[in-house]
């Protein structure tokens, strides 16, 4: 086993079960990044640390009446602080700053939508990672993502997004953004620990500050996420630069990869039965490319 490797939990467009699933004891809910936006100072150290670690080049940007570095994420810009001038319900003024990046959903819409076998994997630690080597550039993952995260590189025809520094995590380091964060508004640990930390912080905000509606963002619509937020006002996530209130995997993807998936599974089974029957009846011969069945 290589040292810098992670165990896989889910694979895009992979017929049959994930190899070895359940072979090891449950290690909890995996790793998790907690973002306490109430202590984010919008310094963008996370943006720089990410860019520096991943070795991506300098982007030409343009002043756009905001502190925000650029309007949206790019294929080689994995995380972005979104700045929003905001008036709270009590009339007080606020500058909301939210680090936007892949949420590493427990039920990843991108992975569900992806038709390329192995192009998107979910490791057993919860990180959802794109394997560009197998990406076919169809961008179904883009439409499958309720957070509008994956970005297409038109030169290489591949899609990219935050890896949660799977390379660092694999050797026991924290992600680059987490390490850099000056105020500790970013925190890293197991999902269970981060949940507890988030709830404690939200309760503290409700009890000790004017933010009586503070809460934890861990949307159930995508099975929860390995990236959670503590928000000043959990009722209004949209105010933080379009964080969806109730993100769900798009209906088409859900239908195709959910209820309809059994059709695919059935097709595989039938195919296998067919192969066996065929083999029994006609002897060895080249197998059908059953995979075709899955291609929408």
């Amino acid at each position: 086993m290589p040292t810098a490797a992670l165990e896989i939990k889910a694979i895009s467009a992979h017929p049959g079960p994930v190899p070895g699933k359940g072979a090891k004891r449950n290690e909890g809910d995996g790793v998790c990044k907690l973002i306490d936006v109430t202590t984010c100072i919008g310094c963008k150290a996370c943006e720089v640390a990410c860019l520096e670690w991943n070795g991506y080049p300098f982007h030409e940007t343009k002043f756009d009446n905001t502190y925000q570095t650029m309007p949206d994420l790019q294929w080689n810009y994995y995380n972005l602080i979104r700045f929003n001038e905001h008036e709270f319900a009590d009339g007080s003024f606020g500058l909301l700053m939210r680090k936007d990046q892949c949420m590493h959903c427990a039920d990843p819409g991108c992975l569900r939508a992806c038709p390329a076998d192995g192009a998107i994997v979910q490791y057993s630690n919860g990180i959802v990672d794109f394997q560009q080597e197998y990406c076919i550039g169809c961008q179904y993952c883009v439409s499958g993502c309720p957070f509008n995260i994956p970005k297409f590189n038109s030169m290489t025809k591949k899609v990219h997004k935050c890896t949660l520094c799977s390379d660092r995590v694999a050797v026991g380091l924290e992600p680059a953004c987490i390490k850099s964060c000056p105020t500790g508004c970013l925190h890293f640990g197991t999902k269970d620990d981060m949940k507890a930390l988030a709830e404690t912080r939200a309760a503290q905000l409700r009890e000790q500050t004017a933010h009586t509606n503070a809460g934890v963002y861990d949307p159930p619509g995508v099975g929860g996420t390995q990236v959670m937020y503590v928000l000043h006002d959990i009722r209004n996530p949209e105010a933080y630069g379009g964080l969806p209130a109730n993100p769900t995997i798009p209906l088409m993807v859900r239908l195709w990869k959910g209820p309809v998936k059994w059709l695919g599974g059935l097709a595989i089974s039938l195919g296998l039965v067919g192969v066996v029957a065929h083999f029994l009846r006609f002897g060895p011969k080249e197998a059908h490319p059953i995979e075709e069945v899955h291609r929408p």
Binding site: T39, C40, C43, F63, N65, F93, T183, Q204
Partner: protein, 883 residues
């Protein structure tokens, strides 16, 4: 900082004002966040703009730039009138009980007593204590000069202010002069730099009721700073002010002495013509609340650069020698007169004790002279004292440029200092450089200063008339050099070389050493003006033309020249050995030390600045074995004040040091910043660097140029009349420069908008404009403009605007934001705008033609604070137009 970065986590309430730590010190700001998370600490942010620091605050107040004294004075008054102060601390650890001369006058009309309109300077004779003794219980409060106090006198006080107070009742000191003895009659007039003394047995009233006691004067001084006045001056609505006042002083609610509050500031306070006094107001407020010397308290200056604390300590400012020793004056006819002039004598109630650490001045200066001149410094020649230049006027930053513009300064070294961009009044600095003979720049990137001769607007034809020789030498970056930086918390930390300098770039020390040694060769060969100091300077480094910084660090610490023995312990430091601390310094020439304050940083044990111990036994964030902190590794200054008069911590849960009765010593979790064996019963004051031993709420004599108490004055350029005293608009002793390049604007001329300047978190001064990643984060210059003002002007975000002051203009894009709101200043709607300073005419964006290549400091005025000589980079007047 009196405290330190990590110590902020110990606080209960923070007033962050005149600083924007979330943006400018993000990694230090984590400890403020830690206090919020772990202790439910509250934060109040006061700033001209809603900053990214404000985004995390419990309360934000938008203040007009340059009016901080009005706000803080209002806080002091509110705290006093509402009983939100620390009485015991005030009585025992400050000069609140000291009596001030009867002829001292508060500036009700704008001027303290002693102002001479002819010289525009103060005679500070009346700014002094009274000689006397304990007058407690005899005070009157009825007819005090300068108006009656608002509150009735304490029961039992009967005598009148005009009457002489009785002699000292305790009699310990025995001087017993009537407090009027040290009257105006006998006092000598004092010009700037002149000397006067404070009485040795200060009259004091421990009940704080005497109308001439500092506390009552303080109360009277700020009684004028009512919430209504605060609102008219600062633009902060009364209700918001009251809420903030209540929150910050809540730590002293109901007589609580356990809680602690901190004040955190930066150059948002310093860069005004009243900068020093603004900081002083904060210090006074902290003394009043009993917050100085305590974990989670203090007055915490966040310095803006990696080693300007070190530069200040090492005398990178004209008026001092290393370790804050005063520069020689022409009046010092010899070393003895210098020592006499610069060594204070204790001034305190005779029953109290004062360590008066500056009484060791002679040891510090002689050890410094031995480091400078080695064997050439002998007892016979006054340790070569006369080799030092003597000064009796200012040679500060703005004077350099003013005197160069006037043709006096002919040559300038600029080593990592971009004077054109830094300003103020950048165009004047460019014109000044045109008049210089030579300029030597050492930099790592091309900067504005080295290219002043081809700054925007100068044609090749013009260049023919600029006769300045400019040398631009490639220096080494931080990763290419070793040596130590001193951080804001006074920690000296050693860093190591990671890579060699690129190309032909050289280490800075090699460049300076080679220039100096070459000059010395020339003097040796050719003679010249007074060559002795040049020829005899001690430069005995192993490699003289490229001194090892470790070797230099050892010299700064100091060593014994001949055997030195401590009479008490009989311990001996052998000749040639490193000194363990400054208590070993001698004034007989047997020790040398380049900077007494750093003595103890590199001992026989090695470089303590290199220590990496990560243990923090107390959990208070002391980290005693990480690097080394001046003085003598003490992490919180004045920490004796963390205990009550008996030597017990005010808050046992944050115990820093305490008196150990068994050992008869002070000890604890930090190194006591105190005389280790002085028992509490001796009542030695915790403020050991003051001759009084106590904190100065009243700054006596020459402590400050503009008054023993801070008074609010309008900035040099202001949109409003001074509502406290319309006849005294500005700080009367602040210096405005007067060359033909120094123009000042008024609202009548159309300059109606208050402008402030600052840095962004994404950039660092004029440095990261060369760094692609930072340019990506914020690519272009902009000006932050209130949305309401933009609406009035029909201006949209992203449009180009021109900002003009009386001195110059700046062109950038408009950042229209709700984070700055219109203010009502004395009933008039007033706007502020803000300009990040980071751009110039050389940089990635500049070279690509993406900016107008103008300088923010082309706008700022050459007007300086009379104490710190810092220019007013913040709070000047401009006008705005669309381009």
């Amino acid at each position: 900082m009196t405290n330190g970065w990590i110590d902020i986590k110990n606080t209960d309430v923070m007033l962050i004002m005149g600083g924007n730590p979330a943006e400018n010190h993000p990694c230090g700001f984590k400890w403020a966040i830690e206090a919020k998370r772990e202790r439910n600490a509250k934060t109040i942010v006061v700033d001209p703009r809603f900053t990214r620091t404000a985004a995390t605050a419990d309360q934000f107040l938008q203040i007009r730039a340059g009016t901080d004294i009005a706000f803080l004075g209002g806080l002091i008054s509110w705290a006093i009138e509402n009983g939100r102060y620390h009485k015991d601390y005030l009585v025992h650890f400050t000069n609140a009980s000291f009596l001030v001369r009867n002829d001292f006058q508060l500036p009700e009309e704008g001027l303290f007593s002693g102002f001479d309109p002819a010289t525009q300077a103060y005679d500070k004779t009346t700014w002094n204590y009274q000689e006397g003794g304990n007058v407690t219980g005899t005070a009157a409060a009825s007819s005090a000069p300068g108006g009656a106090p608002q509150h009735p006198p304490a029961p039992g006080s009967s005598s009148k202010a005009g009457e002489a107070a009785p002699h000292s009742s305790s009699g310990k000191g025995g001087e017993g002069q009537g407090y009027q003895a040290f009257g105006a009659v006998g006092a000598k007039a004092m010009g700037p730099g002149a000397d006067a003394t404070m009485p040795s047995n200060v009259a004091h009233d421990l009940s704080l009721q005497h109308p001439q006691c500092v506390f009552q004067l303080l109360r009277r001084q700020y009684s004028r700073y009512t919430p209504e006045i605060v609102e008219r001056i600062t633009g902060i609505p009364k209700a918001e002010f009251l809420k903030a006042a209540d929150l910050f002083t809540s730590i002293r609610k109901d007589g609580d002495a356990k809680k602690v509050g901190t004040i955190i500031y930066a150059v948002g306070w310093t860069q005004h013509t009243s900068g020093t006094q603004t900081i002083r107001t904060a210090a006074m407020l902290q003394l009043l609340l009993g917050n100085v010397g305590r974990a989670g308290g203090g007055v915490n200056a966040l310095r803006g650069h990696s080693n300007i604390q070190g530069a200040t300590d090492m005398a990178g400012i004209f008026d001092v020698l290393p370790g804050y020793l005063k520069m020689a004056s022409p009046a010092d006819v010899n070393l003895a007169t210098y020592i006499k002039r610069t060594t204070p004598t204790p001034s305190k109630p005779s029953e109290w004790d004062s360590y008066n650490y500056w009484s060791n001045t002679s040891k510090f200066i002689v050890s410094f002279l031995k480091a400078m001149y080695g064997d050439a410094a002998t007892k016979e020649n006054d340790f070569a004292f006369r080799y030092l230049p003597s000064i009796d006027r200012k040679y500060s930053w703005v004077e350099i440029w003013d005197d160069m513009y006037a043709g006096h300064v002919k040559g300038l070294f600029a080593f990592g200092m971009n004077g054109v961009a830094i300003g103020p009044n950048s165009q004047k600095n460019i014109e000044a450089l045109k008049k210089a003979d030579w300029l030597v720049v050492c930099e790592i990137y091309p900067d504005e200063t080295s290219e002043f001769w081809r700054s925007p607007g100068i044609t090749p034809e013009d260049m023919k008339t600029i006769n300045t020789s400019v040398y631009r030498l490639p220096g080494a970056g931080f990763a290419e050099k070793d040596g130590s930086f001193t951080n804001s918390a006074r920690w000296l930390q050693w860093k190591y070389v990671a890579v060699p300098p690129p190309g032909e770039a050289k280490l800075d020390q090699e460049i300076v050493a080679r220039i100096f040694l070459k000059v010395r060769d020339l003097y040796r060969q050719e003679g010249g003006a007074f060559p002795d100091p040049v020829l005899k300077l001690s430069w005995n480094y192993t490699i003289p033309e490229n001194p090892s910084l470790a070797e230099v660090a050892k010299e700064i610490n100091g060593r014994a020249i001949s055997d030195v023995t401590d009479s008490k312990s009989s311990q001996t430091i052998k000749a040639g050995q490193q000194l363990p601390g400054f208590s070993w310094l001698r004034d007989d020439g047997s020790t040398l030390s380049g900077n007494w304050l750093y003595c103890g940083s590199w001992t026989e044990e090695g470089g303590l600045t290199q220590r990496r111990g990560t243990d923090d036994p107390s959990g208070l964030g002391v980290y005693p074995n990480w690097a080394w902190s001046w003085p003598m590794n003490r992490r919180v200054m004045y920490n004796r004040a963390s205990c009550d008069i008996a030597g017990k911590p005010w808050d046992p849960s944050r115990a820093q040091i305490w008196w150990d009765g068994d050992k008869q010593k002070w000890g604890g979790n930090d190194i006591p910043d105190f005389k280790i064996d002085s028992p509490p019963k001796d009542h030695m004051g915790p403020f050991i660097m003051n001759a009084e031993g106590v904190g100065r709420i009243f700054g006596p004599l020459a402590a400050f140029a503009d008054g023993p108490f801070p008074e609010f004055y309008e900035p040099t350029e202001s949109p409003a009349k001074n509502v406290l005293h319309p006849n005294q608009q500005n700080n009367p002793v602040a210096r405005r420069f007067k060359s033909d390049m120094d123009k000042f604007g008024t609202p009548e001329q159309g300059y109606t908008i208050v402008c402030t300047t600052y840095r962004l978190t994404e950039h660092y001064h004029y440095w990261t404009k060369n760094n692609p990643m930072n340019v990506e984060l914020v690519p272009e210059p902009f000006v932050e403009i209130p949305a309401q003002l933009a609406d009035e002007m029909g201006l949209h975000g992203g449009e180009t605007i021109k900002v003009s002051s009386a001195r110059g203009h700046y062109i950038a894009k408009a950042f229209v934001t709700k984070r700055i709101k219109a203010m009502m200043i004395d009933g008039k709607k007033t706007y502020q705008i803000g300009i990040p300073i980071h751009w110039g005419y050389r940089g990635i964006a500049e070279d690509a033609g993406k900016t107008a290549r103008t300088l923010a400091n082309a706008l700022s005025p050459a007007a300086i604070d009379p104490n710190a000589y810092t220019p007013e980079f913040k709070g000047f007047l401009v006008k705005l137009e669309k381009v």
